[in-house]
Symmetry: C2
Subunit: 139 residues, 2 copies
DNA sequence: CTCAATAGTTGATGATGTCAACTATTGATT
DNA sequence: AATCAATAGTTGACATCATCAACTATTGAG
């Protein structure tokens, strides 16, 4: 018994293709801000004013906790994030953006969300449809 | 003169979000096949029966040529790809999949293109629309 | 109070990625 | 034909990414 029809497979295949295409762009974009792709991902996940425990970060990144330690070490040494011991549980350390980190994050999101020219080939109606569909995909 | 309207920006933002969500899945999926994310990308780019020069690979991956050397060294030592000197230009080496490599690649694509459950939430009509839109985005 | 479980760090190791320097080959200019 | 800059790929040095195992500190259940 098949869960997804041929159209779902086609769509997914295209999304995977899109994913690999983007994967190649990220290092260049990151380098311009003197970040690595992994650091971009971390910065992307720490929302301003919403500190996040390191453990949750490891979970979202699907990587080992010790990897997060190193990643954060480097970001912290550049003054982009800071570790704050949690009041509720003294084992956990919450990561917060410094003002400098928040500015860099904003710049990063800004650069990343400049749509490529190909998006301009779609009509406004198609763009809206795409938004609707993707929103349901990600919810 | 405006290049992209607000809808294009929204759409792109969602695609970026999708990208980061997928990025976290890849290492797990790759590990099941005893591959790294980078190796998945390489394998994805070498189509069976269509050898590709190492330089082109570096270009597509947007990374240094020396990086490709190491990447290919490891894949070759596992018998997944082989370097073939080009007849036309003895400087270039074309990468081809071995039968074993082709099988692993097929397995990889198979696993990657299993649509996530969220795609099933879309109607078939929406799926078709998504396919149409993405196809134009990637062409 | 004890003790297993959890959050994070450390150290060892391998993979990824860059850069600079190198070899071999190519192709254009003289 | 001889030269020489440009190109394809490799090598070595080095930083980063990522895993694992072992460790410390803290928590929470019994």
């Amino acid at each position: 018994m098949k869960h997804s029809g041929p159209d779902a497979c086609d769509a997914w295949q295209l999304l995977v293709q899109f994913f690999f295409a983007q994967r190649a762009h990220l290092p260049l974009l990151a380098a311009e801000l003197e970040l690595s792709p992994a650091q971009c991902h971390v910065l992307h996940l720490i929302e301003p004013g919403r500190p996040i425990p390191m453990g949750r970060l490891a979970e979202t990144l699907a990587c080992d906790a010790s990897n997060v330690t190193g990643l954060v070490d480097r970001l912290e040494s550049r003054g982009l994030v800071c570790r704050r011991p949690s009041a509720a549980d003294r084992r956990v350390k919450a990561l917060a953006l410094t003002p400098k980190g928040a500015r860099l994050r904003a710049l990063l999101l800004d650069r990343m969300t400049v749509p490529p020219v190909t998006l301009g080939r779609l009509s406004v109606q198609e763009q809206r449809r795409l938004v609707q569909i993707l929103a349901r995909l990600l919810e």
